[in-house]
Each structure stands twice: as C-alpha cells, then as structure tokens.
C-alpha cells in the first residue's frame, strides 16, 4: 500500500490540531488532522500520525492490513503538560517505510486499548510500557510485570520518579 493511500486511511481517524486562536483580523482557521509526511533521512520515519487514544486499535488495523510489522511501543512522559505520549513504531517489510503512530493520554488516567489481538508482539511491548510508565492497556490478557520485579509498585521512566 502506498503512503498516499495510508495517509488517506489515517486521516479518517487522526486527531484534529487545535485551531489557531482567531485574531481581530483573521477568521478562525479550520483545524487540520495530524497526519504529517516526514523525511525518512531526517526523522527516520515516513509518516507521523497522531490519533486519539481510543483509536489506536483502528490505527493498528490499518497497519496490519497493509502488512506492516509492529516494531516497538513506548511512552514519553510530558510532565509539564500532565500527559503521557504513547508511541507505536511500525515498519513495512517490503519497502522499509516506517510509520509512527502517537496517542496522548492524561497522566492521571493513562488508559488506552491494547492492540495485542492484532499484533501479538505487542503483548510484551505493552507489558514493558506498563512497567515503565504505568500505562494501562485495556483488554490486555495479562498486564503483569515483565522486566521489573513482580512486586514493583513504581514506574521508573516517569519524570517525577526518584529512587
């Protein structure tokens, strides 16, 4: 599947960027969906997609149908914005194209659906992200500690964590 076709499909589920505040002279601009084509040589990925957290499963389905491979799932803690960003990296085994799918969840309620049913490899990645960030992937068959001790109650990659 070409990147143009993928872009079209992602546009249906992507989030809309916040419209710039209307000034006294300029009328309010239409919000734009966040699907950005990036330069592979600069960024290392070809498509940067931001979706609402409840749509990550739809994004995973688009990627699965296009025969992309899930490479990793990770989080980024944006403490100042009180948000956790979840980043999914997909790659195409034929062309080497790479798609980054992002979703942001509030730090207080870090919940989003598991994509384990579509990409079984996500099972471990989600457990790891749960360890490190306390992210809760609803629908995951066994969201227990993977790398941390089984009785760990801390999430070391949160920016306000200190040992």
């Amino acid at each position: 599947m070409s990147l143009e076709n993928l872009t079209k499909k992602f546009l249906e589920i992507a989030v809309q960027s916040a419209p710039p505040a209307p000034g006294p002279d300029t009328p309010a601009a239409e919000p734009q969906p966040l699907v950005v084509a990036t330069q592979h040589a600069v960024k290392g990925y070809d498509l940067d997609v931001t979706v609402p957290p409840e749509r990550v499963l739809d994004a995973a389905r688009i990627m699965d149908e296009a025969a992309f491979m899930l490479e990793s799932i990770t989080g980024v803690d944006w403490l100042a914005e009180q948000q956790l960003e979840v980043v999914y990296d997909y790659t195409c085994l034929v062309s080497g194209a790479r798609v980054t799918v992002r979703a942001r969840v509030p730090r207080a309620t870090p919940e989003l659906p598991s994509i384990e049913a579509l990409h079984p490899g996500a099972n471990w990645h989600e457990r790891e992200a749960h360890d490190f960030f306390g992210l809760i992937f609803t629908g995951h068959p066994g969201l227990i500690a993977l790398l941390l001790p089984e009785d760990a109650t801390f999430h070391p990659l949160l920016k306000d964590f200190s040992a």
């Binding site: 600069v42 490479e71 980043v87 080497g96 790479r98 079984p120 490899g121 790398l147 941390l148």
Partner: protein
Amino acid sequence: MTQGTQSIHRETFVLNLGPQHPATHGVLRIKLTMDGEYIEDAEPVIGYGHRMQEKMGENRSYAKYLPNTARLDYVAAMFNTHGYVCAVERLAGIAVPERAEFIRVITAELNRVASHLLWVGAFLVDLGGFTPLLYTFDDREQILDLLEATTGARLTFCYYRFGGVCNDIDDDFVAGTRKFIAHLRSRMPMYHAFITKNIIFRKRCEEIAVISAETCRKFGATGPVIRGSGVAYDVRKLEPYSVYPRFNFNVPVYPEGDCMARYRVRMDEIEESLRILEQALDQLPGGPVMAEKVPRILKPAKGDCYFNVESARGTFGVRLVSDGTDKAYRLKLRSPCFSNLSLFQECSRGLLLPDALALLGSLDLVIPDIDR
C-alpha cells in the same frame, strides 16, 4: 477433571528451565508446562538482568551514556553503539567523514562475523556437539585480536563516537583483516563438511520448529529469524545507512522457516560479510576519522528521531527524544532479541523439549539485550 484414562493422559507438570541453565545462554527462565516430553505451554520469564538502561540514558549526558550501549548485546556491541551514535548524529546534524563511515562498516561487519561464529559454536553445544565450538572460537579469537588492537576492547567496544571513530585503523589492521578473510574463506568448506552435512545435526534441525513469515511479522521477529522464513528484510538494504549502498552483497534468504534455514542464513551471512569487508578495504579512502567541530557538550535540537541498524540478531532501533538540553529526554532501545524471543511461547507449543531447545538456540538470544 473427568475420571478414566483421559485424565491420566492429560496429566501435565510444570518444569522450570533456568534461570541458571546452559541452554538459555544467560539468566533466562522458561516456565514449561509439559505433557510428558511434549510442551503444552512455555512462558519465558525475563528481567533477571534488568538494569534500566533507558533511564540511565536519560539522566546522564549523551557522551557519558555511550559506553553503556556496548553492555546491551555484548556479543555484537558495535551495532548497539552504531545505532546510538547515528541517532544522536541525526538529531544533532553531525556529518561523519567518509573514512570513518568505512571504518564503521568494516568493524561492524567483523563483529557480525564474530557474533555468528560464536553462535554456530554455542548452537552446536545446545544440540549436543561440543567440538565445533573449539573451531569457531579459534576463528573468532582472530577477530577479537584485530579489534582489540584498534579499539582497545575485546567485547564491550566503545569505538564509535559522535562524528566518527576514536582511533584510526593502521596498516597492520588492514593486512590482518585481509589475512583473516582469506583464512575464514578456507575454513568455510570445513565447517560445511562437518556441520552442515552432519546427519545428526540435520536431523535435529531440518523441519524442526518451523516459523512462518506471518508469525515473524506478527511478533516483530527480525534478522536471521525472519530471513530464515523467506522474507528478505534487511535494514542495510531497505533503509540504507552509513556507506552500505556502495557495496555489492546479497541478503541470504531461506524459505523453509526451520532451524536449518536459520542456520544456513547465518552461515551465508558470514560469507556476505567477508565480501563487504573485502570491498570496504579496497575502497577505503583517506582523510580524517572524526568530524571537525563536534561540540564537547552535545545539545541536539528539540524533536525526536528514529534510527535503525541491522545488528547480528536483527533490527536494533533507537528512538531518541531531545528537549534541547545536554541529556536525552527519552531514549528507547528497541532490542531485536526481545521481539525474537516473544514468539517462543507461540512456536514451541507441541514441540518435544529437545526440539524447543533447538528453537531457542536458533533464535540467537543475548539475554542482557532483552533485559536492558
């Protein structure tokens, strides 16, 4: 449970493989549910060697973290360092001199050969054959000697730096590498004669633990594992980095998906790496090995990037997020062994225990790379 003969037949027991077991090559535990000699379920338990490498990458400067990267996959440490320095260079916009890129390819490919040689020996030990290990270690030793003279380390290389490499290679290294290429080429027929054609080895590997290409994709398995299932996925070809596009080399692919296919891929890769080495030595340009004006304290621009390298075990990826300070805001290390092991539970179901150990060996795991 129902009574009668059925319940006797269905009786299972739990068997712990590891965390201290020679076949797991490190501190890996596998919780096996056995039905006699057959595996009903195999749950890998990992994390015994977890060091929170990603946090360490966030709480110290880029240069201070650099030596850590060699402690992930210590059998093929060059690739981890390569992925990390390339990601930082990409974000900081540092251009690497041509000669340094050649030296990186040469040392990385030497490391790949060393890693595959170690794997062949260790895999044969897993299968019950001890002798090949002594031969492969003998050959691997020569690579380690070559790399030691240039990099100062035998395993945990910290040779690549942001903007180049820390030490130029000399004539001895070039001559020694050429000699080694000829030497290993003369040894390959011997390896094929006493391993590839060995009837016991073939019976232990052929049609054992077949992994489909779709399973590899679903679990994110890369490297020789997916190429042994018929998919020509190689980062050096699909997302060319460094000076790899300048060299002629093939991506060995075997469609069978069994342990033998994964073995054959690695044996062919040794020969392809020798081809790359030969061409790189022939074309080796002069010039500096470090970029000029690399700031002592790196502060890459705000933003994120991803960088992938083809390590000896698969795709090693680095996702780097910078907030413009001298420390990474987020460093994600995508380990190839992590994803390769994740398919074990699925693929070992119904296998005989010795066959599952053949599968485990054929995945070529380095546990500290999984645990990070």
